[in-house]
Symmetry: none
Subunit: 454 residues, 2 copies
């Protein structure tokens, strides 16, 4: 292993320069005008896989954005690891809050700043470089590897899901390795074993067929914004509990072992509030903050819009108001059921004088992975060795929808070995990635391939 590790250590600067090239591609999956950039990013990944030494690389077209697949199966009898990542990134608004242009990577205080730095370009690139290090030093890998890198993670992985379902033979493996989660805290090796699910809804309330003068009509017609506000307000009770019927029916309780683990983490509410940029945290009564973000389902408005939103005053009753509302789900909530209950609940509470349309935009199942699985144990040991510290086990409040699909369709327990930090502004302005974690990530990946192969 020494030659692999020292190769990695000698190439630190190259890795950063290559990552910069990757980050310069504005591969925003949700905006059609970036279609071309999406293709560029897919080609970038395919090219880097090829030059790393992966023998068979393919870009699969889909109805949406392309999927990059690569495999090297030169270690018969050894395990097959499927490495997943995504080359697409979130939009950049509000652009004015970025300290440097989102697609012009800048290094400051050992961090690289750019959209996609930590989510997920920097993290997925770790594995391409660890594989390369083996090929460049030994000419082979200690086990079999399949890469599956998609371009629609930020929009719901719809086409990857279809691809997995239709290609279970091609993708057959013993383990799925994913780096798209966070370290518990800087420098601490971390395995994530739980992810929340998601159901993302859009509610549109229509009142009058056009904006009305609020003097002439005010008081006599239902105002779509007021109605929408009321519908949103009624989704929580005064204790912060969600009021949708049957919402909590399948929520798993925290086990004793997890409770003990949580205590070991010495979670600081004060630091967390600081990271969030709030003076005071706020959550469902009767639960701790770690439970709020990892163990309890939540409901958040992600956006709202209606009427006159320019400067100054315009006295109208708007025709339409729209809100995006998403729920984070926990095992064993079923997003399909929750979407149905949500829709029923909203429609039941809306007055007849408006028209309400509820749409489901996307969803993901919650998941808990096994920590006893051979690959999970190998990942834990590999990180421990790379970071020089004991690995901790955490859950994550976010969702990686495709993880459940891997578990269900490929019948494996995915390993979530992430290298990000939740303070790295993923989905926000000034996203960044700690370059020390980037380097330790490449080493962890290389050590994992070795440990898991034995």
């Amino acid at each position: 292993m020494l030659e692999v590790i020292s190769f990695i250590n000698n190439n630190k600067e190259n890795y950063i320069n290559e990552l910069k090239d990757f980050l310069r591609i504005p591969s925003i999956s949700t905006l059609p005008k970036h279609k071309n950039d999406i293709n560029k990013a897919a080609e970038f990944v395919a090219g880097k896989l090829t030059s790393a030494g992966i023998s068979r690389v393919n870009i699969f077209k889909t109805e949406g954005h392309p999927i990059v697949y690569g495999e090297w199966l030169g270690a018969p009898g050894k395990p097959v690891v499927l490495i997943y990542g995504h080359y697409d990134v979130q939009p950049v608004d509000p652009i004015e809050k970025w300290n440097s242009p989102p697609f012009e990577p800048v290094i400051k205080d050992g961090k690289i700043f750019a959209r996609g730095a930590t989510d997920d370009k920097g993290q997925l690139y770790v594995h391409i470089k660890s594989v390369e290090a083996y090929f460049k030093t030994r000419g082979s890998l200690p086990l079999n590897v399949k890469f599956l890198i998609e371009g629609e993670e930020e929009t719901g992985s719809e086409n990857l899901e279809k691809f997995i379902i239709n290609n279970t033979d091609l993708l057959k493996c013993d383990s799925v390795l994913i780096s798209d989660t966070d370290l518990y805290t800087a420098g601490v090796p971390t395995l994530t074993y739980g992810l929340r699910g998601l159901v993302y809804m859009e509610v549109e309330v229509t009142g009058p067929f056009q904006d009305l003068h609020s003097g002439t009509f005010g008081g006599s017609v239902a105002n779509p914004i007021n109605v929408l506000a009321d519908l949103i307000s009624r989704l929580h009770d005064k204790n912060g509990k969600i009021t949708i019927p049957h919402f909590y029916s399948n929520v798993k309780k925290l086990t004793k072992k997890e409770k003990t683990n949580f205590r070991l983490l010495k979670f600081s509410e004060k630091n967390f509030a600081k990271e969030a940029g709030v003076n005071e945290l706020y959550g469902e009564k009767g639960f701790s903050t770690l439970e709020h973000i990892w163990v309890r389902p939540t409901l958040d408005c992600n956006g709202i819009c209606g009427g006159f939103t320019g400067k100054g005053a315009k006295t109208i009753i708007p025709s339409v108001a729209t809100a995006k509302i998403s729920m984070r789900l926990v095992p064993d909530q079923d997003p399909r059921k929750i979407a149905r209950e949500f829709t029923k609940h909203i429609k039941r509470n809306a007055p007849k004088s408006v028209k309400v349309v509820v749409k489901e935009l996307h969803s993901a199942y919650p998941i808990m992975t096994s920590l006893n699985d051979k690959a999970a144990v190998a990942a834990s040991l590999a990180m421990e060795k790379a970071f020089g510290k004991k690995t901790v086990y955490i859950r994550d409040g976010g969702s990686v929808p495709i993880v459940t699909v891997f578990a269900k369709k490929l019948k494996v327990s995915p390993v979530l070995m992430g290298f990000g930090l939740n303070s790295e502004n993923l989905h926000s302005p000034n996203e960044h990635f700690d370059l020390n974690h980037f380097q330790l990530g490449i080493i962890s990946s290389a050590l994992f391939l070795d440990t898991y192969s034995i």
Copy 2:
């Protein structure tokens, strides 16, 4: 009077052609690039007043747009009427919805289509022409007249208010006559005796200092949209009553006489719902629709904005959410008090975990004018004679802020003798004015001057 009326009837075509010239001037007060057009419109009015026979005409400069003043005081011992109007117009967006260019007047089905046709160029021009008819036939007016025509009505009449306060001697009068309201319905002579007031607020809720990932933080921080929705929701109770403390304290009840009057109007809820473009009307329990729009104070969200409002999904907890909320007030509510109570109420209901800023954008006092005032009685009789029907008495849900200023500063009861229709698209594309009402307006004005002089 016969010679005056037949002069008016003989000049119908001339009036229309002159009005067309007036309407061709794009005097949009809110857009700085129309500064020159504003001046042109002021000069147009001044010129027409002079040629009509008004002896002393002046264009007063202000910090904003000029005020046109003219007076003829050749009837000592007779009442002094101040005639108010505004030569400025609303912007034209959305321009693509106009069937003909907004500043190229077109006549169709007896209506003249152009921006400002009914609001207020067509209506104010009525009085210039009635005065002219007297001078051209008799060489004098039966009473004393002062004209006060401003160019900032559509932006809040700020400079006119200052002008009135600083020139109460110049403007001293027995009555203020305004034509900037509507007929109850086509062909029915109408006096408006009540206007609602207004207080327009903006509420900004700030949570985290930047948008957060709803997975990482969801459940642990207060979401500004959810908080704002809750604050808005709590402004009404389930019966549609506004919950702000002391909100209704000074609301005048409908008198028996008004109730009788309302019944005489044979208001059709069905037609009103059709005009509003809704299937079902909606309002405060225990009151009729006419009461909802004329007699009861209301609260409407005019706009709301926060978080991600593009297409698709973005899983964020937004940093900020903002709403514009305005209240229509009725006698004797005081907008300053209501603004204070609103602000206190909002701040009291907001959780400590967010920052709430409440701003007052503008306001107007509600007003009820006297129908027993000599001028009001004269106006009612004059319209009755001109239209050949009984005059009806209505209130209006909208606000004309300057009316209260006249009442307070000049200590008179303004007479609201309007000739528009609320279906004439004021503030919307394809604004128009019924040319029959234009002609009847000139006759009504002439008859008013005569009747009031006796």
